[in-house]
């Protein structure tokens, strides 16, 4: 049950930003580092180095953040009430996965106003796999009254490496969750700021134009020549930074540039998604592009494990 002391316009049931702030506060209270979104285009919160890279290595790591997620193919020109090419995920990563992770997760739902006395909350099998990240895990999709509101995953492998220890990952689809607690059927009707009347700002006020413009861009106008070039450049840069970082860190027995290299992997992945949305990649080529990104992700994961963040020098 959400905190009765918060003012109306901040209540998670009334305001999109209120929902986000409630989750931020909740996970901060439970010892998470509250990070800001990563400043690059990506398909899901999992791509954030705070998840992909930090999931690897022995160090304890608890973090939570909002990540804007871009899925160029999911654009619907602002006309579909449920589908967006840009939306927000709330991402929590806890390493090692705590024993009471399910309880912690459920309490976060209570905090945003979902009352287990009248709602049906369920953990329904859904194993997660990201071919581009070379990652997989077991877990569930979490249902509230038949609606999927989160993904819950115990990472087993990331970038081709076993997770030791295993991290627990929670991903909330924020728009969906907000639509549920606000009781609206169209994402563009979401109350964003929790105000009423003239002061009210809706999700549509902020994003509908963007959805229209980006759908046009993603499906019709995105410059494919440039994108093909960008993919290659990002791929080459990633490999180059990995080589350079390995050489620079060689004497120290470390890798010195895992993070910049990984940025290029993120870039390549998003560029591929744009090309895919433009329909210029054939079925067979598609597979080979996915493999190329995976190779980059694996190499970045390997480099990360040779950094301090990845556990070099840590007592374990």
């Amino acid at each position: 049950m959400s905190d009765p002391n918060i003012p109306d316009h901040m209540r998670p049931e009334r305001s999109f930003q209120g929902l986000i702030l409630t989750l931020q506060r909740y996970w901060a209270d439970h010892g998470c580092v509250i990070l800001q979104p990563y400043d690059m285009e990506m398909g899901a919160g999992t791509f954030h180095p705070a998840t992909t890279l930090r999931a690897l290595g022995p160090k304890t790591w608890n973090a939570a953040y909002v990540q804007p997620s871009r899925r160029p193919k999911d654009g619907r020109y602002g006309e579909n009430p449920n589908r967006l090419q840009h939306y927000y995920q709330y991402q929590v990563i806890l390493k090692p996965s705590p024993t009471d992770l399910q309880e912690l997760y459920l309490k976060s739902l209570y905090a945003i106003g979902i009352d287990p006395k009248i709602h049906d909350l369920r953990f329904v099998e859904d194993d997660w796999e990201s071919p581009t990240l070379g990652a997989w895990g077991l877990g569930w999709e979490c249902w509230c009254d038949g609606m999927e509101v989160s993904q819950f995953t115990y990472f087993q492998q990331v970038a081709g490496f076993e997770c030791r220890p295993v991290a627990g990952e929670l991903t909330y689809g924020l728009e969906r969750l907000a639509m549920y607690v606000q009781g609206v059927e169209n994402v563009y009707d979401l109350n964003f700021n929790g105000r009423e009347g003239a002061e009210k700002v809706t999700y549509g006020d902020i994003f509908q134009q963007a959805e229209q413009e980006y759908s046009r861009h993603n499906f019709e106008y995105a410059d494919t020549t440039m994108l093909f070039e960008q993919f290659k450049m990002a791929e080459n840069a990633c490999k180059k930074y990995l080589d350079d970082g390995a050489k620079a860190g060689h004497n120290a027995g470390k890798h010195f540039m895992a993070l910049p290299a990984y940025d290029q992997c993120i870039k390549a992945s998003h560029t591929f998604n744009l090309l895919d949305a433009r329909g210029v990649i054939s079925v067979t080529e598609r597979q080979s592009y996915i493999l190329r990104v995976r190779e980059l992700a694996k190499a970045c994961g390997e480099a990360w494990l040779k950094t301090e963040g990845g556990g070099v020098g840590a007592a374990s």
Partner: protein, 694 residues
């Protein structure tokens, strides 16, 4: 005697894995009990989303003592041998061994040792550790801090508690000690996640089940299914509807709840414009809800039934509303897809197939469709179908694969093609063929019977088979990624159920381009046919006997089946059995003599060389029978042919009774062997009798 109660309490176990996990747990534990000499009275296993439980009744408190006898060296053997024996048997001196007298080979030592049985509770504790480490989950995982180290326990999802009690029903039980993944076995479990999450102290099975029930957990999945099914039926009935029963969905839903509460919701009637199958697929696959039928219209009712896992304080209002919203959104999508699909004619979609690869070595989907169309047109006149309709149906049969609805719900492929074809004004036969060309999709699926459907269904399957045969991608062992066995069986069922006469070899080897591949494919069909006939109760040796004859029509599946039937009936009669014995006797003699002489005896026997009346009589009978049987075979009257052949029986019997085959006079002997060959040949018109057993 003591009972064992075991519960493994974890985070949510996938519904599809629960039943097998319960069986595996039971088998793994009871096998080990028996191996340890602990013969139990009975065992039952259960699963809910959060627990696997096992109850084993009547286990002896101790293992029986084991007496072991170890044979040693002979008396007076070298010291080394004696010392080795003592060490192996655990004896201190040779005085502890017994001497076994053996007057023939000499006396030798034996050691009699007695191994005391251990308390069952210790034995169980030890093997439970192994059971948990080696449990065959389809997928398992590591978790928590322990997963930093290699070798941490893997389970389907994180494990939280282990209940393991042992003891007679009337006493306070003991704890079976198990320790794994930082969990120590004990007597504590937990109730329903939301309704009664507190700890529960467990003693024996009876109080365990009762306490769980009080804590809103129905342990037995069978009972959960009964509750869901009967409540769902009652809710439907109360509204004047019928539940569309769905065993697979029921099993899944029962694995998603510990405390089933069945509720009914509704959706807008305007969604009923969508085909029923699409509504059902939407609601079932995505929402795991049942749908209802309106008995007045035979169509779906605008209702759904959901199974929640909780008793809500508002009687389920919020839950129904929430599920209703999701279903509304899903049906809106489905309706949007369906209406969007209707805007494009099926033939206008075909262009896209040129860019879709069917198989790397077999070209694009467009090429495959062209092949099917051509083959279907060739088959059409053979099955009495209109060639133009067949060509159109074949051309459009795959087009729905590119529709939105089929993209979303692959299981309605074909069916949607039919709806879209009807909507764009195609004839019923064409529309039905689009749906039915995938049939039969499995052993319980319907076999198409309309000629247009038959032609396209056969062409579709034969194209896949000849295609993959030509690139040498045949099924091996358990691997059959392109479902070629199913395709072959489909062809067999279409042919036999519809009584179709087809020369398969000609069809699969158009133009005789590659007879070796065609023959190999034909023998694959024969293998599937054998399996099929055997499943229907035919004797495999009869099938072999019929397949061994290579005359006209040997590639005609229907004739093969009829021959097997005729043979089966014939061998059920006295005449049949006795003739079989005679023919086999003749064949055996021939086989032996032919081997001895390194030559085969065939050709007409010489009338002048007969000595005995029985020879002449048999020869005359064979001549008469051969002609008559051949006529019957030509009419495809195999039972008639068998009846004719049966007439040989008294003469064959008389021949073996009175005539000696292996006589001194070599010309007479040869003539008699040729006569035996005539018996063999006469029966070959229907089957090779030598392949028949008994």
């Amino acid at each position: 005697m003591p009972d064992l109660l075991l519960e493994l309490f974890s985070e949510e176990i996938p519904a599809r894995m629960q039943a097998k996990a319960a069986d595996d747990l039971k088998k793994m534990v009871t096998d080990r009990l028996v191996d340890a000499g602990l013969v139990y009275e009975g065992a039952r296993a259960f699963a809910t989303p959060r627990r696997l439980a096992l109850f084993v009744q009547g286990i002896p408190a101790r293992q029986p003592d084991l007496k072991e006898e170890r044979k040693g060296p002979r008396v007076g053997a070298p010291e080394g041998a004696i010392a080795g024996f003592l060490k192996a048997a655990g004896l201190n001196s040779i005085d502890e061994a017994t001497i076994q007298r053996d007057p023939k080979k000499g006396d030798f030592y034996i050691a009699l040792t007695e191994k005391a049985g251990r308390p069952a509770i210790d034995v169980i504790g030890e093997f439970l550790q192994v059971v948990m480490r080696t449990f065959p989950w389809p997928k398992s995982m590591r978790w928590g801090a322990a997963s930093a180290q290699p070798g941490s326990l893997e389970w389907v999802r994180p494990l939280h508690a282990i209940v393991a009690t042992f003891g007679p029903e009337t006493e306070e039980p003991e704890i079976v000690h198990v320790q794994t993944a930082g969990i120590k076995s004990g007597q504590t479990t937990f109730g329903h996640r939301f309704l009664a999450p507190g700890p529960i102290k467990v003693r024996h099975f009876d109080d365990y089940v009762a306490s769980l029930e009080k804590a809103k957990v129905v342990l037995d999945p069978v009972r959960r299914k009964e509750i869901i099914l009967s409540d769902a039926k009652n809710l439907a009935f109360a509204q004047g509807y019928e539940l569309v029963e769905d065993e697979g969905l029921l099993n899944e839903v029962a694995g998603l709840v510990e405390w089933p509460v069945v509720l009914m919701g509704s959706f807008d009637e305007s969604f009923l414009k969508i085909p029923d199958e699409v509504i059902r697929a939407t609601i079932r696959n995505n929402q795991k809800c049942f749908v209802l039928r309106d008995p007045k219209t035979g169509r779906l009712a605008p209702r759904f039934i959901l199974t929640s896992n909780t008793e809500a304080a508002d009687g389920g209002k919020a839950i129904i509303a929430g599920n209703g919203r999701v279903i509304r959104a899903r049906l809106s999508d489905a309706k949007f897809f369906y209406e969007a699909d209707l805007k494009t004619r099926l033939e206008d979609r075909l262009e896209k197939f040129k860019g879709i690869v069917f198989h790397e070595k077999l070209g694009t989907q467009a090429e495959r469709i062209a092949r099917i169309e051509k083959l279907a047109a060739e088959i059409a006149p053979l099955v009495g179908a209109d060639v133009e309709k067949v060509k159109l149906a074949a051309l459009l049969a795959k087009a729905d694969l590119l529709t939105e609805v089929v993209g979303e719900f692959p299981e309605v492929q074909g069916l949607m093609g039919k709806y879209y074809a009807l909507a764009q004004g195609e004839e019923n036969a064409v529309a039905n063929a689009i749906e039915e060309h995938y049939k039969p999709a499995g052993p319980n699926d319907r076999v198409p019977s309309d000629p247009v459907s038959i032609a396209v269904a056969l062409a579709d399957k034969l194209d896949v088979l000849t295609g993959f045969w030509s690139i040498d991608e045949k099924p091996t062992g358990s691997k059959d990624p392109y479902a070629l066995r199913r395709a072959a069986l489909g062809v067999i069922r279409i042919v036999t159920d519809n009584g179709l006469r087809l020369n398969l070899l000609k069809i699969v080897d158009a133009g005789g381009k590659n007879p070796a591949i065609a023959n190999d494919l034909l023998s694959f069909f024969f293998d599937r046919l054998k399996v099929q006939l055997r499943d229907q109760g035919a004797r495999h040796d009869l099938v072999d006997a019929v397949l061994a004859q290579h005359g006209e029509g040997h590639d005609d599946l229907l004739l093969i089946v009829r021959r097997v039937e005729a043979l089966g009936k014939f061998l059920g009669t006295e005449d049949g059995k006795s003739l079989l014995a005679g023919v086999k006797r003749a064949a055996n003699i021939l086989r032996i003599e032919e081997k001895k002489d390194s030559k085969t005896y065939h050709g007409k026997p010489d009338n002048h060389l007969y000595l005995q009346p029985e020879e002449r009589q048999l020869a005359a009978a064979i001549n008469a029978v051969k002609e008559e049987a051949a006529k019957a075979v030509a009419r495809e009257d195999f039972e008639g042919a068998m009846a004719v052949i049966a007439k040989l029986r008294p003469d064959v019997d008389a021949f073996f009774d009175k005539v000696t085959v292996n006589v001194e006079m070599s010309d007479r002997r040869e003539n008699r062997l040729k006569l035996l060959n005539e018996i063999r040949e006469a029966t070959r018109a229907v089957a090779d009798f030598s392949k028949i057993e008994g």
